[in-house]
Symmetry: C2
Subunit: 221 residues, 2 copies
């Protein structure tokens, strides 16, 4: 969840590297610091004004308020140049993906912003919408990873790339933010082993295989 204010996605609205982009990045930094320090319930426009050097009336005019500030900080986080790993095998790529999550959340400084965004989504619908858009884009970018695996014959054609990427991440985030259990390399590697086995068996293909018990899978689109 790194971000890069110098490569905005909406040409025309923000000049890359320009004053507007710098202001937006300064505001984003203040929002992140505030979220990490006080959480969403404690974040105020006053705090962001003080820590960004941008006037309160400008913040209200351009971002509407705290919800808009958090949503834009998340949008900006999604405007980076992240691409999925390319190690030469699906096992290697998924392991790298899982360890990326592991490493991010093992480092308190790196974990702070994504954790704060996930927490904010419990209290703000706009933060939840921005989080959904962020992850949707992240998982879309994983398509080449699965296309390469299909090309190498590692998984069946029609395997849903974003479902595979979600499936590797889910057990890790589940332990971090739902069951509050520790993460380690063994957990990450078990997630990879499981997703690989499931993907090879066609569990993420458009038409998943019938279960051996003969019961219908019931996966209406």
């Amino acid at each position: 969840m790194t971000s890069d204010a110098e490569s905005p996605r909406t040409p025309g609205t923000v000049r890359p590297g320009g004053r507007t982009a710098r202001t937006r990045a300064a505001v984003r930094d203040a929002v992140l610091t505030g979220l990490v320090e006080h959480g969403y319930p404690g974040l105020t426009v006053e705090y962001v004004a003080e820590h960004s050097g941008v006037h309160k009336t400008t913040l209200y005019r351009r971002w509407g308020g705290v919800e808009g500030l958090v949503a834009d900080a998340l949008d900006l986080a999604g405007e980076d140049t992240w691409t999925p790993p390319d190690t030469g095998s699906l096992h290697g790529d998924l392991t790298a993906l899982a360890h990326e999550v592991l490493d991010t959340f093992a480092d308190p400084a790196a974990a702070a912003a994504p954790s704060a965004f996930i927490a904010a989504a419990f209290q703000s619908d706009r933060a939840a919408d921005a989080l959904r858009a962020f992850y949707d884009e992240r998982f879309r970018r994983c398509a080449p990873l699965v296309e390469r695996a299909v090309g190498r014959g590692e998984v069946p054609a029609g395997t849903d790339a974003s479902a595979v990427a979600r499936a590797v991440s889910a057990p890790l985030f589940f332990r971090l933010f739902i069951t509050r259990e520790p993460l380690d390399a063994a957990v990450a590697d078990q997630a990879v082993t499981a997703v690989l086995a499931a993907a090879r068996a066609g569990a993420y293909a458009a038409s998943p295989p019938e279960p051996t018990a003969g019961e219908p899978a019931g996966t209406a689109p």
Copy 2:
């Protein structure tokens, strides 16, 4: 995450069905109402006193404060008689488990308490500890489900029951609380299909199979 104040787990400390149990249940109900209405940041001992009819000084003496109140409400939620489904096949049991999560979070009234507990854990270490204990106990109770599947020859001996139960739940909670995507029966059934395939391939066994690429699984205990 239903609860049953009439069957406490610590004999001697709370008399089943007695005045103490009733007080604890009334306090728990007020904590839940407060969490759902105001979230953890807005919950106060005053609110719980007013809505439970239990005096504020009693609440402070017995629960210490808001963190203790939330942790005890979660402990009480874990003191129910929930057991995992027993449908005669692992596919049926995991499908029932997944649909239990689906049904709970499709019903706003049923979803409110678990969602509020998960949110509270972002702000309170004691809530996080209580949540960890709650899920640990839930997943422990799933052991017979996998033992039966091993007995029927559906999965390898040594399959980690709580890992299987976690793996079915993780993709659903991931969508609900991390990526904020909608849940439906297709998502639940895909999770089941994936976990079944992975479990059959031995991904949740004590010694997971080597990946075909020949790279070490790296699952040190």
